[in-house]
């Protein structure tokens, strides 16, 4: 248990990770709620990255947390709890998207050639970045998330999604070029109107 502070004031005690896990293993609803409160915001972003809308992201988040609480007994504490939770959420998102991927099979796509300009992402708010990712085609969106943000290799992505390594690479290239195009558009907008957009 540790002190939970906000604006320099102690407003309560925060349960440690182990206490949270133990409570969740016993099915303690308060511990489950505490765990949810601790990770829901971060996981919402993960869900948004893999979905097309907020509602869809919330569905994934709900399903993911139910899975987490039901299988927390299997958590061996070899990895960080956050990493484990993120993996479950990503898997849930992939399962949800997989059905749609059957309808739109991933095929090799050509990348778009863009001017080699330095792009500054740090100046863009993450919510905008999410919107950009959401606007990507389904296959590109997933491959980009898995490769660029989760850190999977193309081989792993191929095995995970049942596609070839080449398809994964081409999907990523396509995603990247699309994003770059969007970012260029955004940066030109900033240059013209300043950074007061957000």
């Amino acid at each position: 248990m540790c002190l939970y502070m906000q604006n320099g004031r102690t407003i309560g005690y925060m349960l440690s990770e182990i206490e949270l896990i133990e409570g969740c293993c016993k099915g303690n609803r308060a511990s489950q709620k505490a765990l949810y409160d601790r990770y829901c915001r971060k996981m919402m972003v993960v869900c948004l990255r893999y979905s097309k809308s907020t509602a869809e992201a919330e569905d994934i988040l709900q399903e993911g947390f139910v899975k987490i609480f039901n299988s927390i007994k299997t958590f061996r504490q070899e990895a960080k709890l956050e990493t484990w939770i993120t993996r479950i959420i990503v898997n849930t998102a992939l399962n949800a998207r997989r059905k749609k991927l059957y309808l739109y099979p991933m095929v090799d796509v050509e990348s778009i050639d863009l001017p080699e300009e330095e792009l500054c992402i740090s100046s863009i708010h993450f919510s905008q970045l999410i919107e950009m990712i959401q606007s990507l085609p389904q296959g590109c969106q997933i491959v980009f998330n898995l490769f660029a943000i989760e850190g999977y290799s193309h081989k792993e992505i191929g095995e995970l999604l049942g596609i070839s390594e080449g398809t994964s690479k081409s999907q990523f290239a396509r995603a990247k070029s699309l994003l770059q195009a969007k970012l260029l558009k955004e940066s030109s907008f900033y240059e013209r109107y300043g950074e007061a957009k957000v």
Partner: protein
């Protein structure tokens, strides 16, 4: 450079989401909670189901055990009855001399004299002496009634004993040694098996009874002992024992007369069975004791046990009384204390006002939105539930294509036998007549053996598959064992009388084939445990009348039974156990075909298991004996089994 930039691009994206967070809607936790509760209720349902199944399985098992136990008891009682009837019949049919000589002595009531028939087992002097020593004259008129009663009860044994002893009938002595009878009886008890125990122990007691009767002419204790051993009269003895102890205990505890009497009644009630057992056991163990301590010691035992029981009961009742009194006193004290406190209570000086804090109410989610969200959730649930159920239904119908099962069955068989005048086991050549292998003897032995009914057990492994939606095929390998018991009063012995074997169809077949020079001699009636073992390969077709969680199917088919061996285990003294395998000298057919019919009531436990109870019938198409033997036997087996099935797919 380009790659570096691209790497930077990916890292920038990763970093941008590193600390990012968006709060989901408030209803999300409600949805998670609902899902968790649903999952928990499912778990509970599963646990309940497991308990229900366990309860059902245990009840089934208990019923099965109770049925088997009841059946075993029923079979034993039938066997005993059959044994007694046979013994009585033999007495009047086979040993007319013994009967005629014994009857007047029984009627006179003063002496029991046994005479031996002309044919008997020679060579065992010790046994002859023992048996002869049972020929005792009782001269006292006061014991006449007891002696008569025992003679009446043990008619069969009285005949059997003189038959065994018959060899030395000429040397029959009138012995007044009371102890020899008891010793003889004790020896017999030691040799006794469970099935024969009643007969042998009665014999022992009968003998010792005579001894006792002679020794203690007017003793009531001795009469008690006699009654104890006879099962029908054991209750009387226990009551007597209980009464005796009752008196003793009542006299020792005078202070708490009323309560003690009650306790004594209870304790006696509890110990009736024990005392009977104690008296019986000690009777059996000490029947050969010279001074006949058995009755006394058993009575002491009974007294001691009852004494302890009374002491314990007194303790319990006394402590209960004391507790009750203490409780009452405590209650009274509490009530008084409460009353006095209430009287002395002063009115409060300052009245404390209750402070109620009025916090600004937390923003509540719109109830309509919550309701709509819940409805949406419910709709989704229903949609999700509906689909898997349909799939499950299809799955259950499609599943159970292939399974294996292990099973055990127990039951009984009744043999419908027929003995013809032609056959190697029945007819005998003139040359063998002198050895005792005559037609009457052989047909009697053959009839007894082949018509004996008994218990059947089988266990095995089966494999089954579904042919169509309703029809199945199953087969496997079973080990089948059929136990029966029959009585005979013949033994087969070599000319030098070195060993004795039970007279059986196999022995008569061997003798008739001229392969041995053994001869048959008559002896006392004894039991032979007949055990036949087979390997059975059943093939059955089944119709699934009910194919759900609870299943019901009707099976019919054919079984190929391979004869393994037959073991004859005689219960008599010094008679060897014989094993008959397959072969040309065997009277048993090496291969049999039987018809099978049965039902199977099953319950599915989980996805891969099914537990079934299967009552069934088995009837051999041909006799288990070879055609040339002259005896046919087609035992109809009725059994009930339990099968545990593992479903592969």
């Amino acid at each position: 450079m380009k790659d570096m930039e691209r790497q930077k691009f990916e890292n920038d994206f990763k970093d941008a989401f590193e600390q990012a967070g968006i709060t989901p809607s408030d209803n999300l936790w409600t949805g998670i909670e609902l899902d968790l509760e649903k999952a928990e209720s499912k778990k509970m349902r599963r646990t309940l189901l497991v308990y229900k199944l366990m309860a059902a399985a245990s009840i089934t098992f208990a019923m099965f055990v109770a049925g088997a136990y009841y059946y075993a008891g029923f079979t034993n009682s039938n066997r005993d009855l059959a044994g007694n009837t046979l013994a009585n019949n033999n007495r009047y049919t086979e040993s007319p001399k013994a009967v005629t000589s014994a009857t007047p002595t029984q009627e006179s009531g003063n002496s029991v004299v046994s005479t031996s028939p002309d044919k008997a087992l020679p060579g065992n002097d010790e046994s002859h002496e023992d048996i002869n020593s049972t020929t005792t004259e009782i001269g006292d008129e006061t014991n006449t009634n007891n002696a008569n009663r025992n003679v009446e009860i043990e008619n069969a044994k009285d005949v059997a004993t003189p038959t065994l002893a018959a060899n030395n009938s000429d040397r029959a002595k009138t012995i007044r040694d009371k102890n020899s009878n008891a010793i003889n009886g004790n020896k017999k008890n030691e040799n006794g098996n469970e099935e024969e125990r009643i007969v042998t122990s009665t014999l022992a007691v009968n003998n010792s009874d005579r001894a006792n009767a002679i020794e203690n002419k007017n003793s009531k204790n001795k009469n008690k002992k006699v009654e104890n051993v006879n099962v029908e009269e054991s209750i009387v003895t226990s009551t007597l024992a209980a009464n005796t102890s009752d008196k003793n205990n009542t006299s020792t505890n005078k202070e708490n007369a009323n309560s003690e009497n009650r306790n004594i009644e209870n304790a006696n009630g509890e110990h009736i069975a024990t005392s009977t057992l104690a008296v019986n056991t000690s009777d059996r163990d000490n029947s050969g004791n010279k001074e006949n301590y058995s009755t006394r010691s058993s009575e002491k035992l009974v007294k001691n046990e009852t004494g302890i029981a009374i002491a314990d009961a007194n303790k319990v009742s006394n402590s209960n009384d004391v507790n009750a009194v203490l409780n009452k006193e405590n209650n009274k004290k509490d009530e008084l204390a409460e009353l006095s406190l209430n009287d002395k209570k002063l009115p409060p000086i300052v009245k404390v006002k209750k402070v109620e804090l009025d916090f600004p109410s937390t923003p509540k989610p719109d109830p309509f939105a919550v309701m709509m969200a819940k409805l949406e959730l419910r709709e989704k649930e229903l949609m999700e539930e509906g689909e898997p159920k349909k799939k499950e239904k299809k799955k259950t119908n499609r599943s159970e294509k292939l399974w294996t099962s292990v099973g055990f069955a127990a039951g009984s068989f009744n043999s419908s036998s027929h003995t013809s005048s032609n056959g190697s086991a029945v007819t005998s050549a003139q040359s063998l007549m002198s050895n005792g292998f005559n037609s009457a003897t052989s047909s009697r032995v053959a009839s007894n053996e082949s018509s004996a009914s008994g218990a059947s057990y089988s266990m095995g492994l089966n494999l089954g598959t579904k042919i169509t939606n309703r029809w199945i095929m199953q087969g496997g390998v079973n080990y089948l064992m059929q136990n029966s018991s029959y009585q005979t009063n013949f033994v087969v012995t070599p000319s030098d009388l070195s060993s004795f074997r039970a007279a059986s169809i196999a022995e008569f077949k061997t003798a008739n084939s001229g392969a041995s020079s053994d001869k048959v001699v008559s002896t006392a009636m004894y039991n032979v445990n007949n055990n036949s073992q087979f390997v059975s390969i059943p093939v059955q077709a089944g119709y699934l009348a009910v194919n759900r969680k609870v299943g019901f199917q009707i099976n019919a088919g054919v079984s190929t039974d391979l004869f393994l061996k037959n073991i004859k285990d005689p219960q008599g003294v010094d008679i060897e156990t014989t094993t008959q395998g397959r072969g040309s000298d065997s009277p048993y057919r090496p291969l049999n075909f039987s018809g099978l019919f049965g039902t199977e009531l099953s319950y599915k436990l989980g996805q891969h298991y099914r537990l079934a109870i299967n009552p069934g019938l088995r009837y051999p198409f041909n006799s288990i004996y070879k055609s040339g033997v002259g005896v046919t036997s087609n035992p109809l087996t009725m059994d009930i089994g339990m099968r545990f099935r593992y479903i592969f797919r």
